[in-house]
C-alpha cells in the first residue's frame, strides 16, 4: 500500500504541472486586463501601460509562466495584484476558514445522511422512506443562496439568535466563532446531506437484496446487527466516493454560501480574483484546488481499501 501511496504522490507532480499550464493559459485567454480593471475609468493610457509594466504583464506569456512556475517551485506564489498580499498567506488564511466550515458541514452531513439513507432503504416504500427522500429532494432543489438568506431571515432577523454577517475565527474565540459558523455549516450540510443520503439509500437497497444478507437474517441475527455489520459497511463504498467529491468541491470553495454569509473563505477569494483578473491569486487558488482534489482522490482510494478488504492497492 505504501508503494501505491508513494507512486500516487509522485504522480501529483506532472498532474499539477499540466494543471498549472492550463490554468495559466486559460486565465490569460479570457478578455479583461488587470491593470485596466484596477485603474477603472479614471486613468490615462500611460498609467495603464506603467501598471502593466509594474505587474510584469507586458512580457511574453511564456516568460511570465517561466517566472511564475520558477517562483512556485521555490515556494513563492507571488503577491496579489489587487491587494498586494502574498498569495501563500492569503491562501493559508482563507483555506483555514473554508476547511473549518467544510469539515463541520461534511461531519454533520455524514452523521445525518448515512443513518438516514440506511433507514430509508430498510423501510423502503413506507412513510419513513418517503419522508426521508422527500426532505432530501427538497434540500437538493433549494438554491443554497436562497436557503442561506432564509436562515438569515429566520435566525438573525426574526429570532435574533445568530449574527447575520461577519466572521470570527474559532481559534480566536471558540464560542463566539461557533455562532458565526452555525448557519453556513447548516446550509452546506443540508444540501450535501441530501446527496449522500440518496446515494446511501440506493446502495443499501442493492446490498439488502444480496444473498448474504438473507443468510444473515436466516441465521437469526438481530436486524440492527444485520444492518450495521453486514449492510452498512458494504453500502458505504460509493457513498465514500461521493463524500470525497463533495469534500474536494467544498474545500475548493463554496463561493455562494461564503458570499451570502460574508465568510472570508477560499471560494470568495477565487471569485474576487476572477472579477479583478488577479492572476497570481487565481493561479494560486486553482493550483491549490487541483492539489486538494488529487489528495482527496488518493484518500478515497485508501478508504476503499480500509472499508473493503477485497480491494488491494
Amino acid at each position: 500500500m505504501w508503494a501505491h501511496v508513494a507512486r500516487r504522490t509522485a504522480m501529483m507532480v506532472p498532474t499539477l504541472l499540466v494543471v498549472s499550464i492550463i490554468v495559466f493559459a486559460l486565465i490569460r485567454a479570457i478578455p479583461g486586463d488587470p491593470a485596466e480593471i484596477m485603474l477603472n475609468d479614471l486613468d490615462s493610457d500611460a498609467a495603464v501601460a506603467a501598471m502593466r509594466t509594474e505587474l510584469g504583464l507586458d512580457r511574453p506569456i511564456p516568460v511570465q509562466y517561466a517566472i511564475w512556475i520558477g517562483n512556485v517551485l521555490t515556494g513563492d506564489l507571488g503577491t496579489s495584484i489587487r491587494t498586494g498580499q502574498p498569495v501563500a498567506e492569503a491562501l493559508f488564511d482563507r483555506l483555514g476558514v473554508t476547511a473549518t466550515i467544510t469539515a463541520l458541514a461534511i461531519g454533520v452531513a455524514v452523521l445525518l445522511a448515512i443513518p438516514a439513507g440506511l433507514i430509508a432503504a430498510w423501510k423502503q416504500d413506507t412513510f419513513t422512506d418517503a419522508a426521508i427522500i422527500g426532505v432530501s429532494i427538497l434540500f437538493l432543489s433549494l438554491p443554497s443562496f436562497w436557503l442561506g438568506l432564509m436562515m438569515i431571515w429566520l435566525f438573525a432577523i426574526t429570532l435574533g439568535w445568530l449574527p447575520a454577517i461577519g466572521f470570527v475565527s474559532i481559534s480566536e474565540d471558540f464560542v463566539g466563532g461557533l455562532r458565526y459558523l452555525i448557519m453556513p455549516v447548516a446550509t452546506l450540510a443540508l444540501v450535501e446531506m441530501a446527496v449522500v443520503a440518496r446515494m446511501m439509500r440506493a446502495q443499501t437497497l442493492e446490498v439488502l437484496r444480496l444473498d448474504y444478507v438473507t443468510h444473515a437474517r436466516a441465521k437469526g441475527l438481530p436486524e440492527s446487527l444485520v444492518l450495521t455489520r453486514h449492510v452498512a459497511r458494504n453500502a458505504l463504498g460509493p457513498a465514500v466516493t461521493v463524500i470525497g467529491l463533495i469534500l474536494g468541491g467544498l474545500l475548493g470553495g463554496a463561493s455562494v454560501t461564503e458570499t451570502v454569509f460574508s465568510i472570508p473563505g477560499i471560494g470568495r477569494l477565487l471569485v474576487d480574483a476572477i472579477y479583478a483578473r488577479d492572476y497570481p491569486v487565481l493561479q494560486g487558488c486553482l493550483l491549490l484546488i487541483a492539489f486538494i482534489y488529487v489528495c482527496v482522490n488518493l484518500l478515497v482510494d485508501l478508504a476503499y481499501a480500509v472499508l473493503d478488504p477485497r480491494v488491494r492497492l
Binding site: M38, D43, A156, G160, A164, I165, R179, P264
Partner: protein
C-alpha cells in the same frame, strides 16, 4: 438524553451571547466592497479612498461646493502670476504616532510620492508628463511650504485634493521606512486592522487636532466622535440589508432603488446627488454610428425624464457637469428634446435599415444594466433595434478601452472640475468617444484658463457642440444613497460622495 440536554444547554448559551459586548462606542458599517490596500493614492479603489480619507489628510481638500479649501494648510496663498502656491501649515497638528507635523514632513511626503517606485497614481499630474510640472517644493521655515508650478493652472489644487490621489496625503516617514508599514496620517481616525474580505477597523485618534469652522466637505471640523469604526465586508447586497434589519449594521451604502424598501423597514435614508455621470457612449470607431443623424435619432428617442424616474433619480442631466457644480449654468441645463417623430425622420435621413445596434452593458451596477434595458424598449418604439450584450465588467472595460462597440451603457465616477468632466470622454485615445478638433481645443483652454467666468463660457460652448454632435448620450448625475440605523447621529452625505465618519456619533 444527557447528551441531548448538554447540546441544548450549549446551544442556548451560544445564541444568548450578545453580538457586540463592548462599552466603547462603535459605528458599524457594512460594505459590499473591500479595500484594495492601506496605501493611499497608490493601491486604491473607490472604497479604499473612503477609508483612507478618514485616516490621512493633505494640505488641501474639497469643500461641499466642490471648491478647494485648506486642510493641513492654514491658508492657501497664490502669487499674482499664478505660479507660486504658499501653504502656511496649521500649528500643533499631530501624526498618529504622536509626532508634530512640520514642513519637513510635507517635503518628505511629497518626495516619496514623486518617486517612480512609489507608484503614486497622480505622479503624472505633477511631473511634467502632462500639462503641469511642479518645478520646486521648498520649506523656507518649519511651518511653511512653497510649491512652484510651470504654468498657471486651475487644476493644481484640485488634483492635489483628488480622492484617488489620496488627497496627496502628508504622512510620517515611519510609514514607509523599510517598505510600506501602513498609514501614519493626521486624520481623525487611526488605522488599526484590515483583514481582507472580512473587516476593517479604525480607531478614534484621541489627539486629533481639528480645524476651525463647520464640517465642509473634506475641510473644516473633523472631530471624531465614536471610539471605533468597524467595517464589515459583506459582498452580497441582500445579506447586507438583512444584517441591517437584524440590527447588526448602523450604516449601509445602498442602491437608490432600495431606498423605499429601507425607509419602509424603518431606517433613515439619505440621498445625495454626486458628480458621477450615467451615459450611453457611442463609439467613434463604429462605422455605422459615424452617421450623426443616427446618433441624434437615438438621443431624441429617449424619454429622459421617465428614464431618470425609473432609475430612481430625481432628474435627467445631459451635461457631464453636475448640477451641484458652480459651472452648471443655463448653458448646461439643455437637453436633446424627446421627440419620437423627429427621431423617426432622422432615422430615415440616416438611411437606417433596422439592423440591430450592438449595445454593451454589464451588471457591475444595477443602473448600468437597467438603463440599457429601458432604453432598448424606448428605442424600439422609434424603430431603432438594439441587441444587448451583457458582459462581465473586465470584458466590458476591454471593449471600452479599444472602442470596439457601437453603443455602451456606462457610468463615469465623479470628476470635480469642468475640464476633467469634459476630458473624461474626449480626446484622441482609442477609448475616448469625442475627438472633434474644435472641442478638444476648447477642452485644452479649460485646462489652463483660470478665470471662472471664462471657464463657464467655454464649458457652455462645449455643451452646444456636445448636444449637436452626440458623441455620447448624457443621462443623469447619479446620486449616492445611505441607510442609517436610529443609533446614528450627525452623519451627513456631501456632493463629493466619499463617506466621512467624523462628526458622527452613535447612541446606545
Amino acid at each position: 438524553m444527557k447528551l441531548v440536554a448538554t447540546v441544548a444547554l450549549a446551544t442556548s448559551a451560544l445564541i444568548a451571547l450578545p453580538s457586540i459586548a463592548a462599552a466603547e462606542s462603535v459605528l458599524r458599517v457594512a460594505s459590499t466592497s473591500d479595500m484594495t490596500s492601506d496605501n493611499p493614492g497608490v493601491d486604491r479603489s473607490g472604497f479604499s479612498d473612503t477609508v483612507h480619507l478618514n485616516i490621512v489628510e493633505g494640505l488641501v481638500g474639497y469643500k461641499d461646493d466642490l471648491s478647494i479649501g485648506p486642510v493641513l494648510a492654514d491658508e492657501i496663498q497664490v502669487s499674482e502670476d499664478g505660479l507660486t502656491y504658499t501653504f502656511p501649515l496649521r500649528q500643533g497638528v499631530l501624526f498618529h504616532n504622536g509626532e508634530t507635523m512640520t514642513a519637513e514632513h510635507v517635503l518628505a511626503s511629497w518626495e516619496r510620492l514623486m518617486e517612480e517606485e512609489t507608484g503614486w497614481r497622480c505622479r503624472d499630474r505633477f511631473d511634467g508628463s502632462g500639462r503641469l510640472e511642479v518645478t520646486s517644493v521648498e520649506a523656507p521655515d518649519e511651518a511653511t511650504v512653497v510649491f512652484t508650478i510651470s504654468e498657471p493652472s486651475p487644476l493644481f489644487l484640485k488634483d492635489m485634493a483628488r480622492f484617488d490621489c489620496g488627497a496627496t496625503a502628508i504622512q510620517h516617514p515611519d510609514a514607509w521606512a523599510d517598505g510600506w508599514q501602513g498609514p501614519i496620517g493626521t486624520g481623525p481616525f487611526r488605522f488599526v486592522e484590515w483583514r481582507p474580505g472580512e473587516r476593517i477597523v479604525l480607531e478614534k485618534f484621541d489627539d486629533y487636532v481639528a480645524d476651525e469652522g463647520p464640517r465642509d466637505g473634506m475641510t473644516g471640523d473633523k472631530t471624531p466622535m465614536v471610539d471605533r469604526i468597524l467595517i464589515t465586508i459583506v459582498p452580497d447586497a441582500a445579506s447586507a440589508k438583512a444584517a441591517m434589519r437584524a440590527g447588526e449594521v448602523d450604516l449601509l451604502d445602498i442602491s437608490t432603488s432600495d431606498a423605499d424598501e429601507m425607509r419602509e423597514a424603518g431606517f433613515d435614508v439619505l440621498i445625495q446627488p454626486t458628480p458621477a455621470w450615467g451615459t450611453f457612449l457611442i463609439s467613434r470607431h463604429s462605422e455605422r454610428m459615424a452617421n450623426p443623424a443616427l446618433r441624434q435619432a437615438m438621443a431624441k428617442a429617449l424619454d429622459m425624464d421617465q428614464l431618470a424616474e425609473l432609475m430612481g433619480y430625481e432628474a435627467h442631466n445631459a451635461s457631464p457637469i453636475p448640477p451641484i457644480s458652480s459651472f452648471y449654468t443655463d448653458g448646461q441645463d439643455r437637453t436633446y428634446g424627446y421627440d419620437v417623430d423627429a427621431a423617426k425622420a432622422l432615422l430615415e435621413e440616416a438611411g437606417y435599415d433596422g439592423t440591430p445596434i450592438r449595445l454593451i452593458t454589464s451588471r457591475r451596477s444595477a443602473t448600468m444594466f437597467d438603463q440599457a434595458v429601458v432604453a432598448q424598449a424606448m428605442w424600439r418604439q422609434a424603430g431603432i433595434e438594439t441587441e444587448i450584450e451583457v458582459l462581465e465588467w473586465g470584458t466590458q472595460l476591454d471593449l471600452y478601452r479599444s472602442g470596439e462597440y457601437d453603443v455602451m451603457s456606462f457610468g463615469f465616477s465623479a470628476r470635480l472640475d469642468p475640464a476633467l468632466s469634459w476630458d473624461m470622454f474626449s480626446g484622441e485615445q482609442q477609448r475616448k468617444v469625442w475627438a472633434d478638433p474644435a472641442a478638444l481645443e476648447k477642452i485644452g483652454m479649460l485646462m489652463t484658463e483660470t478665470d471662472p467666468d471664462a471657464r463657464a463660457a467655454i464649458s457652455d460652448e462645449l455643451m452646444g457642440k456636445f448636444l449637436e454632435q452626440v458623441p455620447a448620450i448624457g443621462l443623469y448625475s447619479q446620486p449616492t444613497a445611505i441607510a442609517l440605523s436610529d443609533r446614528v447621529e450627525g452623519f451627513e452625505l456631501w456632493p463629493g460622495g466619499r463617506l466621512r465618519f467624523w462628526q458622527t456619533s452613535v447612541s446606545e
